[in-house]
């Protein structure tokens, strides 16, 4: 399972990096989104993955060993929110750039 | 899986429901692959959203009712929402596809009955526009 997840993270990150380096703004925004999936999963994986051990407590049986590590999850949540905000911002900036320059090239001019 | 006290009949029922539901859903998705035109494909996913969903949710209801000793009704909500929203999506999508195909004069699609259609479609194509787009 760890291997599969790791490969998945790697592919998401790799595809994202490839897109990040492309000349069109749309490619970059898709790349950034893929990277953010990868990063979120990466952070998540730092807590070691566990099946069926959600961090919702059962007040009756409060043994920390029964639950997953909540810290990475909290971090991922913050990262998701910030990632969402940044995607929105980048989208609008790329639209504005396209509007001003007439092109969707990342440099604002065709090369 | 909680414990051995789970009754056999329920286990069998849940299993059957789950497998049946998932197989139906799979069948729908295979249809997505096999059907040749979009209008055929549009029939496929409804298998999954109708009885595929019903069976699997029923399995879930049985399972949780037995294990938690109280009725699990969440599934009903899922079913209601899925069966309300899926047709809406499909209708909008199908109508959009129809429109797109008509613009491109797909011979397999019934044209609008309106006799003016052809002339004005030409006219609208005179308007400054880029070549027809295959994609989005």
């Amino acid at each position: 399972m760890e291997l599969i997840l790791a490969i998945g993270i790697g592919v998401l990150a790799g595809s994202g990096v490839f897109l990040l380096l492309r000349p069109r703004t749309f490619q970059v925004i898709v790349g950034l989104s893929l990277i953010s999936y990868a990063v979120n999963l990466f952070i998540f994986s730092m807590g070691r993955i566990r099946l069926n051990a959600a961090p919702v407590l059962n007040p009756a049986a409060n043994d920390p060993a029964l639950y997953t590590d909540p810290v990475p999850q909290a971090l991922v949540l913050t990262a998701i929110v910030i990632g969402f905000a940044m995607t929105a911002l980048f989208l609008v900036v790329l639209l504005a750039s396209r509007g001003f320059t007439g092109t969707d090239h990342v440099d604002g001019r065709e090369r | 899986m909680s414990g051995d006290q789970f009754p056999l009949w329920a286990a069998i029922a849940v299993s059957v429901l789950l497998v049946a539901g998932s197989l139906l859903t799979l069948a729908g998705c295979i249809g997505m692959v096999r059907f040749r035109s979009f209008y055929q494909r549009i029939h496929a996913p409804t298998i999954g959203t109708s009885f595929g969903t019903i069976f699997i949710l029923a399995g879930s209801v049985v399972y949780f009712t037995v294990t938690q000793l109280r009725p699990a009704v969440h599934e009903v909500l899922i079913f209601v929402f899925v069966s309300v929203t899926t047709p809406v999506t499909l209708m909008l999508l199908a109508r959009a596809a129809l429109y797109r195909d008509r613009i491109e004069r797909d011979p397999d699609v019934p044209p609008s009955k309106d006799p003016l259609d052809n002339a004005e479609m030409e006219a609208s194509k005179q308007a400054p526009r880029r070549p027809a787009v295959k994609e989005a």
């Binding site: 990096v17 590590d69 929105a88 911002l89 609008v92 | -």
Partner: protein
């Protein structure tokens, strides 16, 4: 007054009065002169008052703490040598002020002039009285800066600008070298105190860094004193007003270089390196300067090269390394200052009275200005080394030193020959000056009839020439004790016996003097026909113009090369920048990883077929999305959603329901958002890649794929490595699991962390969301679509045309029919989604959910209405004020956090209790809920604002950005459509009930 106060006044007064001078009105010429003159005189008086304290090698020191921890305190240190320099600076300074009163035109804005002048005087005094070698550099650089301003005083003149810039550049280079030298001296000796440095000559000379220090120090001295090969800036500095030249290039600025050589003579001189470098540079300068001076056509140019030559003489003397030579050098410093200052002033008077300094046009002026003529002749004679004048004595001492038999060949041959040649040249140029200007035929093409200047303007020259005479005739009385004071201060116990009498008998130096005089006369007579040609520049060296070479080097290095290197080492394109970022990250992470990393053992087993297939699908989607993103945006977006869903499912799989829910909601909103944007992007069609550029593109693509593989592989390896390690046993997570319920009051640890344990993160996170929403809003207010996106999308145009053509239809009927049935369901989902949102909000603390998820849900409800009914339809019915919601949300969260202060707890301390309410029963009441409410309100506001601001672009009557290539950003938009500001911003806060 105590000596401390006096010393402080000596240094500080010029700077303070500089500020005063600069703030006087432009026409305050006399006030400026009174001020500057008074400052100079006070300085002179103070200096004189220190005479008793510094005779016999005594030193007066005053230390003011400045940067004690870095070993840099201000030490004002007056010894004999500093004293004699201070005399020159203040004395000649006073005379120059007086002279400038008459020289400067009433139209000139003299406040600036005197401000710079006084600052320069202060800097110069600072240099000579520095008791700390870093402090010396400080004032040294200040002289560079202030002299730059003085030289560039007439900046409307291109020559002045260039001359000033060159002087600054050259002397600043030297100054920085000097700084390094001093830092190294400090490193070697362990102190920057001049006293300590002067006491450590042996340490310094024997240190391996000696040569480095020497070279750096000489760079400073040579640039300042215009020694070969840095002599070229000085003639260009002649563009300065003459008072400036008279001051800077006789007594002060250029003397700073030789001052430095003398100052460090006791510790640095006496080695082979010193001898070779200093004396050869000095000798070359001496001869070359004198040679070039003969052929100058500009009066001040002649004096400038003569100055170079005399400085070369002083440098040569210092280079010899013998105490007697040092005495001669110090003596010549003083002598040169007096006669050269008077000559510059005389040249200025000539310029002033005739309107030209060109030797080709000047002639026979003695008849018109006999007084000035006489003074200039005497001063020139001093410069030429004619007996009974001060120049003679020091020059004779120079000849004496060169004539001494020396163990090495260079000294035996080159020095005396060079000395005598230079002597001949100096006589020749002095003659040229005197004869060319004052004698010969009547001047013809002068703009005005020359006459004597105002007598007060002559006083400074008269004083100086008088000094030349007195010192030349009775040196022992006139200068002897003072010179001795200076010499002892430098040489201390090494002070040799020397005599300052005019007559030493008939000896070799005298012969050399006579030879030089006769040779000079002969040379001048021989050269007269050539000089009559009026050619610019000296023969043989005409094409070797130092300043031009320097300029060219400077431009090449500082402009052309810099531009090339900038282009080569940098880029303005985004792709290479991102490539480098990723590459560097991969490489550094790899290097960091290498030590202490055990390769991980593959752990197979525990395979979950569903999960494996799921991720195969996810991987497929990710790669396909990357593949399609260029030409098939919609496909790419859909595939990306696929990968996103797989990510959500993974969160579920590994027990993170909160993440799954949040990611899912964000996923939906993001898709809608990007779709809203797609409309404004250009259509893109697949082209065949055929030509040469396609190959490059392809190669770049392969390169990027390789980097992507490495980056992805790296991330995968890192995550695999961590996942297969056991968790850190004493990590912080246990704390949260143990206390979330008992002390945080919630069973959903994630939510308790978000609103309580790490509530501050959430606090910042909502701030980010708010800021981004506001930014988006602000940016979109100025949004201009590109020309080809202005029109409505093709589909709408066709559909509207269809409707318009039919009498029974209205524009928009097609879309209404299209949405007629679906919109019913979409509208009725609205209250359902609101209830769902409330549900998600409330259950957050105990089960997956919370303010953020609820907020996003709510905004999806809004967006659904916009999709169903259109912008106008919704905004006719609902008043949405997202900006205010953002503000309110932030304030709610803030207030919740601040609430804890009332109870004496830190910010964001949450309280919880199970409230036993009448009907409802036991209900957990955590203040965290209020915090979460703030989050909810903000998230709704921000998300809705972003989506609506974007959606609004379609209903505005958009005007395209005018052109893609407009050079400035001056093109600005037409006014906003009212819709934007009113509907989204103005009315009061209320959701429902806007309609009635």
């Amino acid at each position: 007054m105590s000596s401390e106060v006096l010393l402080t006044v000596l240094i500080v007064l010029p700077f303070l009065s500089s500020l005063v001078a600069g703030s006087l009105p432009a026409n305050a010429r006399n006030a400026e002169v009174w001020l500057a003159g008074a400052v100079a005189l006070i300085g002179l008086a103070i200096t004189i008052s220190f005479y008793p304290d510094v005779t016999g090698g005594e030193v007066v020191r005053y230390e003011i703490p400045w940067l004690p921890s870095a070993g840099l305190n201000l030490i004002i240190r007056m010894d004999g040598f500093a004293w004699i320099f201070s005399m020159l600076i203040t004395g000649i300074g006073f005379l120059v002020v007086l002279y400038a009163r008459y020289y400067m035109s009433p139209k000139d804005p003299v406040p600036r002039f005197f401000a710079f002048f006084l600052a320069f005087m202060g800097a110069m005094l600072g240099v000579v009285t520095s008791g700390n070698i870093i402090q010396l550099v400080v004032f040294w650089e200040l002289t560079s800066v202030t002299s730059f301003l003085l030289i560039g005083y007439w900046y409307h003149n291109a020559n002045a600008r260039d001359g000033a810039r060159m002087a600054l550049t050259v002397t600043a280079i030297g100054g920085l070298a000097l700084l390094v030298a001093m830092l190294l001296v400090g490193h070697v000796i362990g102190s920057y105190d001049l006293e300590a440095v002067l006491a450590s000559g042996n340490t310094l000379r024997e240190h391996p860094l000696y040569t480095t220090i020497l070279i750096l120090m000489l760079l400073g001295a040579f640039t300042k004193s215009a020694q070969f090969p840095f002599q070229f800036w000085l003639p260009r500095a002649m563009a300065a007003p003459t008072p400036v030249s008279a001051y800077l290039h006789s007594a002060t600025m250029v003397k700073a270089g030789v001052f430095l050589l003398v100052r460090f003579w006791p510790v640095m001189a006496g080695t082979d390196q010193w001898f070779w470098i200093v004396s050869s540079a000095g000798l070359i300068t001496l001869v070359m300067g004198a040679y070039a001076a003969i052929f100058q056509q500009d009066l001040k140019g002649l004096l400038a090269y003569s100055t170079i030559s005399h400085l070369g003489l002083i440098t040569t003397l210092l280079g010899m390394g013998t105490p007697l030579a040092a005495v001669a050098a110090i003596f010549h410093i003083v002598n040169h200052a007096t006669f050269k200052a008077s000559l510059f002033m005389a040249a200025g008077i000539i310029d002033h009275e005739t309107g030209t300094r060109d030797l080709r046009r000047l002639s026979g002026l003695f008849k018109y200005m006999p007084f000035t003529g006489t003074l200039a002749i005497i001063a020139s004679a001093a410069m030429a080394g004619v007996p009974l004048l001060n120049g003679f004595i020091s020059k004779e001492m120079f000849f004496t030193e060169t004539a001494i038999r020396n163990p090495n060949m260079f000294a035996n041959l080159a020095l005396p020959i060079g000395a005598i040649v230079a002597g001949i040249f100096s006589v020749a140029y002095a003659l040229r000056f005197v004869y060319g200007v004052f004698f010969g035929p009547q001047p013809t093409d002068l703009e005005k009839v020359p006459h004597e200047p105002p007598s007060l303007m002559r006083i400074p020259i008269e004083v100086l020439v008088l000094i030349c005479l007195i010192v030349g005739i009775i040196p022992g009385i006139a200068i002897g004790p003072y010179l001795a004071t200076a010499v002892v201060a430098v040489l201390g116990q090494d002070t040799p016996h020397y005599s300052l009498s005019i007559w030493h008998g008939f000896n070799l130096p005298l012969l050399m003097s006579i030879g030089a005089l006769i040779g000079g006369v002969i040379l001048y007579i021989m050269l007269r026909p050539y000089l009559a040609l009026g050619l610019e520049g000296p023969p043989l060296m005409r094409r070797l113009v130092g300043q031009r070479i320097f300029e060219r080097i400077l431009v090449t290095i500082s402009w052309k090369w810099a531009k090339t290197v900038e282009r080569w080492a940098g880029t303005r394109r985004l792709q290479p920048q991102l490539f480098l970022l990723v590459l560097i990250c991969v490489v550094t992470a790899w290097f960091a990883l290498r030590p202490g990393f055990e390769p991980v053992k593959l752990q197979l087993g525990g395979w979950d077929p569903g999960f494996v297939i799921l991720w195969m699908v996810g991987i497929f989607c990710a790669i396909a999305a990357a593949h399609q993103a260029k030409y098939h945006r919609l496909a790419s977006l859909i595939l990306m959603s696929g990968a996103g869903l797989v990510t959500c499912m993974t969160f579920v799989w590994f027990s993170a329901p909160d993440l799954a829910v949040t990611q899912l909601l964000v996923e939906i909103v993001t898709t809608v958002l990007i779709l809203l944007g797609l409309r404004w992007l250009p259509k893109r069609f697949q082209k065949g890649d055929t030509d040469h550029t396609a190959l490059r593109t392809k190669l770049r693509r392969y390169r990027d794929i390789v980097l992507g593989v490495f980056a992805g592989g790296g991330v995968a390896a890192l995550s695999y490595a961590i996942m297969t390690r056991t968790a850190v046993p004493d990590g912080i997570s246990r704390f949260f699991l143990e206390r979330a319920y008992t002390e945080g009051g919630g069973t959903n640890v994630i939510n308790v962390m978000l609103v309580d344990f790490r509530g501050f993160d959430t606090f910042g996170e909502i701030a980010v969301l708010g800021v981004v929403a506001i930014t988006v809003f602000a940016l979109l207010r100025r949004f201009r679509p590109a020309a080809d996106s202005v029109e409505k999308p093709e589909q709408q145009r066709i559909q509207n045309a269809y409707d318009d053509l039919r009498p029974n239809r209205q524009s928009g009927d097609t879309v209404n029919e299209y949405l007629m049935i679906p919109s019913v369901i979409m509208q009725w989902m609205f209250p359902v989604i609101i209830v769902l949102s409330a549900y998600i909000f409330l259950r957050g603390h105990d089960l997956p959910g919370g303010g953020f998820a609820a907020g996003i849900t709510m905004s999806i409800g809004f967006i659904l209405q916009y999709m169903a009914g259109g912008t106008r339809w919704v905004e006719d019915r609902l008043r949405i004020l997202p900006v205010k919601w953002i503000g309110t949300g932030l304030l709610i969260a803030l207030a919740t956090g601040l609430g804890a202060w009332v109870f004496g707890y830190p910010f964001l301390t949450m309280a919880f209790q199970y409230a036993d309410l009448a009907i409802i029963g036991k209900v957990p009441m955590a203040t965290a809920l209020f915090f979460d409410l703030g989050v909810f309100v903000l998230v709704v506001g921000a998300t809705v604002l972003i989506l609506i601001a974007l959606a609004h672009q379609s209903v505005r009557s958009p005007k395209a950005a005018r052109s893609t290539v407009l050079p400035t950003h001056a093109v600005e938009p037409p006014p906003e459509p009212a819709l934007e500001t009113t509907a989204v911003e103005t009315p009061a806060l209320e959701i429902p009930g806007g309609a009635s």
